[in-house]
């Protein structure tokens, strides 16, 4: 296959970017989308042109590092799949594909398709944990957790923190990301002691990072490569409201 690409090129956060045209020949349908970029980059090096910078690491859909906005969709057209797991068999010979970085003011561009997502780390640091020090935890089976709750917590915990939800949202809201962590811990007995303060702190941090407001359009859940459910946002809203009321009572 031959694929035409329009790729966002931007030197650094302070410069302005533009779309540049490339053509990649001999694309095999078994290649992953990122392997096509490898081929293109090798070709660029041969031509003495600087390769395109993009984030990637595990290439098996779990680390959350890859982050391409493909034809207007984070991680491209397939549902429930990261960019690294998208294969060229999803495209046709002669297709033109537009590739951009995640767009959000909380995710400044570092170079080309690479953005800075440390805002998400800071949101976790504000409350996305159970405050338990290492050592002397009770026996794990002394804390039975019903299968249904455990499964729901697991489904929320499957978030890979890639930021596709933010990129998909017209307001660049991080509600799906934040709600997944708040839900996981709110559903488990271990998360109860800090349940309220967690919801309040994580939402406050999310706001201060410059993520936008949520209007429940659901674009985040539709584009999430791990299919994190919109139910989590409903749960976060409940958690936040409940915590706001009870904290005012103090």
């Amino acid at each position: 296959m031959t694929i035409k690409l329009k790729v966002w090129k931007q030197k650094n956060a302070n410069s302005s970017g533009h779309l540049e045209n490339y053509t990649v020949d001999h694309v095999s349908p078994d290649m992953s989308f990122l392997e096509m970029f490898d081929v293109l980059n090798e070709q660029l090096v041969q031509d003495n042109k600087e390769p395109i910078a993009f984030d990637h690491d595990c290439r098996e859909g779990i680390c959350g590092m890859c982050s391409m906005y493909i034809n207007g969709q984070p991680h491209g057209p397939l549902k429930g799949v990261t960019t690294c797991q998208l294969h060229m068999r999803s495209f046709k010979d002669g297709d033109t594909i537009v590739v951009e970085p995640w767009r959000a003011s909380a995710f400044p561009v570092i170079k080309d398709l690479v953005v800075d997502r440390t805002a998400m780390d800071r949101v976790i640091a504000s409350g996305g944990f159970v405050s338990v020090n290492t050592g002397n935890a009770q026996d794990a089976n002394n804390l039975p957790i019903g299968k249904d709750k455990a499964d729901m917590a697991f489904a929320a915990a499957a978030c890979i923190g890639c930021g596709a939800c933010v990129a998909a949202c017209k307001n660049a809201s991080a509600m799906l990301f934040v709600s997944a962590k708040v839900s996981q811990l709110a559903l488990l007995p271990q998360g109860q002691p800090e349940r309220e303060v967690r919801a309040l702190n994580m939402v406050a941090q999310m706001d201060s990072e410059g993520f936008g407001a949520c209007t429940n359009t659901g674009a985040c859940a539709a584009e999430c490569p791990k299919e994190i459910s919109l139910d989590n946002i409903a749960r976060l809203n409940r958690e936040f409201l409940g915590a706001s009321i009870s904290s005012q009572e103090l």
């Binding site: 650094n12 042109k49 440390t118 338990v132 039975p144």
Partner: protein, 662 residues
């Protein structure tokens, strides 16, 4: 000729009491002094994140470094199947001793008894700690934790979270780390790569790190430095490691005096998705847990062109069940991998390249899960379709994400047709030599997790990597580091304008400039590919003297070519992944040579190291305990020159025997 005596510092006393006794006798550092002691942790995977969080909780000042954009992306995240712990929740006779025994035997009697017993002892605490953090392990309806089996064991001691166990464990450790970052007791440096260890008066006192966004070199002081930087499987180019996984930090430490142990011990994992073409950038693992329910087979007839489902039962060779009836499909990884290679080399392989075997779920899907579900739902005499439908639901719950991943990559549906799999490089048992305290041969420099060599001998058992990473980080280093830091309370932080820091930074800068100045024609990627090909063909699943000698001279030639014809575009300022890659490939080339030297020197077959000259008639590995029961620890002397130091292995609690899984 051995001028340096390696001292493993394993405490005296009965094996079951060593750790407990030693732990209570290690000097302590009082809380006020902890606040003035600084620890650098390089790498934020299971070992690094758990160590950094635990040390910060204790009061030390910690700095963490990772090359990824967030600590949460370290490659521990990709571990699929599970984590072992001697909990005996299944009442199937498990114990600390059995986990210890299985690990030593699985490692083909090439690991250190003291370390492995400690690992087995703390394994249960790991599960408790992770559950307390909110890690959502799989549970039964009654709320109790579930277990499954992994290779090389006859008990069920593997805890799991679907096929995403590594992710959930890492997110647990990451959340503990972020909690400390939020408190200010850890300062994290993402997108930073360690490029040298700084030594002052023979002790590790800090690192030189490169900010990968700005390109700036930074000097960081620490009273101690912990390397938690993972394995070096990417030396083979194609492996199940992440694209960024590299040996650079460990290699720089090696060149500063840290011995490198058993570099030739690499694990080739039996169940990976086969290579599909030249464009391939990495290989994807299909978890060992699949061997709980998947049966491995090839056609009995050579070059059988029929589709898998058209080959009748009696014309299938379930070769693992045939050769190893006691363990069947759950033999250790090295044995399963060699058996697959043997069948494919003999002409029984399947798929387009004939370099694959089937991993088939149909039998257990129908007979094990389908029937159990039918009984549960009170369906009498269920037909095959009903059984398939019911069984599929259970299989989906156990392995759903793996099946989806397989389908995504290959375009085939493993619920309908058997998976095709082939062995691939997965893990490295070798690594930086450490003593019982996890300290390297450089005082103050420690090494944890996959980056060290200590616990898995010549072959690691499945679900033991996560166990070791977390054991080292949560339960070993917080104690053992006291032995060193208690002696350092009078050491004031050393200003980074100290000559040693200035010199180290200068040397790092010169090396970067040298890489950029070559201005040749070939990309770092192309050199990496060529190195990988040499390593896979001559230092891979089977090795022999002739091949290894050839490999050494080919690697030396490749190195010359690299330093005279490399092309790195861009410059040292700003974000430049090509430059990062070039530095890593340069280190991989040097490591590759040492791996071949080590493989050549070890004239025996053991675990993942299979020397074709040393095998029995049936093709089983032939170990030589008389001459090779030692850890080969290599000291870097000069370019292409290493000196071998031997740490003799003593087995006082386990009777050494030939590994038998029949």
């Amino acid at each position: 000729m051995d001028t340096f005596k390696l001292d493993a510092k394993v405490p005296e006393g009965p094996i079951a009491e060593k750790w407990t006794k030693y732990k209570s006798s290690i000097p302590l550092v009082n809380p006020a002094n902890k606040r003035s002691l600084e620890v650098i942790v390089v790498g934020t995977g299971l070992a690094g994140a758990s160590a950094a969080a635990s040390l910060a909780e204790m009061g030390y000042k910690v700095k963490t470094f990772c090359f990824q954009d967030s600590p949460r992306r370290a490659h521990s995240i990709a571990a699929q199947g599970g984590i072992n712990a001697a909990k005996n929740y299944q009442n199937d006779g498990d114990s600390t001793y059995r986990l210890f025994y299985d690990t030593i035997k699985g490692g083909d009697y090439r690991s250190r008894e003291g370390n492995v017993h400690r690992l087995a002892e703390v394994s249960a605490n790991i599960i408790d700690q992770c559950v307390a953090q909110g890690v959502p392990f799989a549970r039964d309806y009654g709320g109790m934790l579930r277990n499954r089996s992994f290779g090389g064991t006859q008990v069920q001691r593997t805890f799991y979270a679907a096929g995403q166990t590594g992710q959930q464990l890492l997110l647990g450790a990451y959340s503990a780390l972020e909690r400390q970052i939020g408190k200010g007791s850890v300062v994290n440096y993402s997108r930073h790569e360690m490029l040298d260890v700084v030594k002052i008066d023979g002790k590790a006192r800090g690192i030189i790190a490169r900010n990968l966004v700005t390109g700036e070199l930074e000097r960081h002081f620490g009273h101690a430095v912990l390397l938690c930087t993972g394995g070096y499987g990417n030396v083979f180019y194609l492996s199940t490691n992440a694209m960024g996984s590299n040996v650079t930090a460990a290699w720089k430490a090696h060149k500063q005096g840290a011995f490198f142990a058993n570099p030739c011990f690499t694990q080739i994992h039996p169940t990976c998705i086969p290579v599909s073409g030249d464009h391939q950038s990495k290989l994807t693992l299909m978890s060992e847990s699949l061997r709980n329910d998947g049966r491995i087979w090839v056609p009995k007839q050579k070059d059988d062109k029929r589709a898998a489902n058209d080959i009748p039962e009696e014309e299938r060779d379930y070769y693992l069940e045939r050769r190893y009836p006691a363990f069947g499909n759950l033999v250790p990884r090295d044995i399963a991998s060699r058996a697959a290679k043997e069948r494919c080399d003999a002409g029984y392989g399947v798929g387009a390249t004939k370099m694959a075997v089937y991993l088939d779920f149909k039998y257990n899907l129908i007979n094990k899960y389908g029937r159990a579900e039918a009984t549960k739902h009170g369906i009498e005499n269920p037909d095959i379709e009903t059984l398939t439908r019911l069984g599929k639901e259970v299989v989906k719950e156990e392995y759903g994400n793996l099946f989806d991943m397989y389908k995504q990559i290959t375009g085939e549906d493993p619920y309908e047709v058997p998976m095709m799999i082939y062995p691939a490089v997965h893990y490295t048992m070798g690594g930086v030599w450490v003593d019982y305290n996890l300290m390297t041969t450089v005082p103050g420099l420690y090494c944890l997790g996959e980056a060290n060599f200590s616990d898995h001998g010549a072959n690691r058992l499945g679900a033991s990597a996560l166990m070791q990473g977390l054991s080292d980080g949560y339960f070993v280093i917080p104690y053992t580091i006291g032995a060193y830091l208690s002696q350092e309370i009078k050491t004031k932080p050393i200003p980074t304008d100290n000559e040693a820091f200035v010199e180290a930074e200068k040397a790092t800068k010169e090396r970067i400039e040298k890489l950029l100045a070559i201005k040749g024609k070939q990309s770092p990627e192309s050199f990496h590919k060529r190195l990988g090909k040499i390593m896979w063909e001559k230092c891979g699943m089977a090795r022999n003297e002739k091949g290894l000698l050839e490999a050494i001279s080919e690697i030396q030639a490749l190195k010359k070519e690299f330093w005279s014809d490399l092309r790195v575009l861009g410059d040292a300022e700003g974000f430049n992944p090509e430059l990062d890659k070039a530095g890593r490939v340069a280190d991989f080339i040097e490591l590759g040579e040492l791996m071949c030297i080590d493989a050549l020197d070890r004239k025996e077959s053991c675990g993942g190291h299979f020397r074709e000259e040393y095998q029995e008639d049936g093709g089983e590995a032939m170990r030589d305990d008389e001459n090779f029961m030692y850890v080969a620890a290599w000291e870097y002397k000069a370019e292409n020159q290493w000196e071998l130091h031997k740490e003799e292995l003593k087995y006082e609690n386990i009777k050494i025997a030939q590994r038998n899984y029949k």
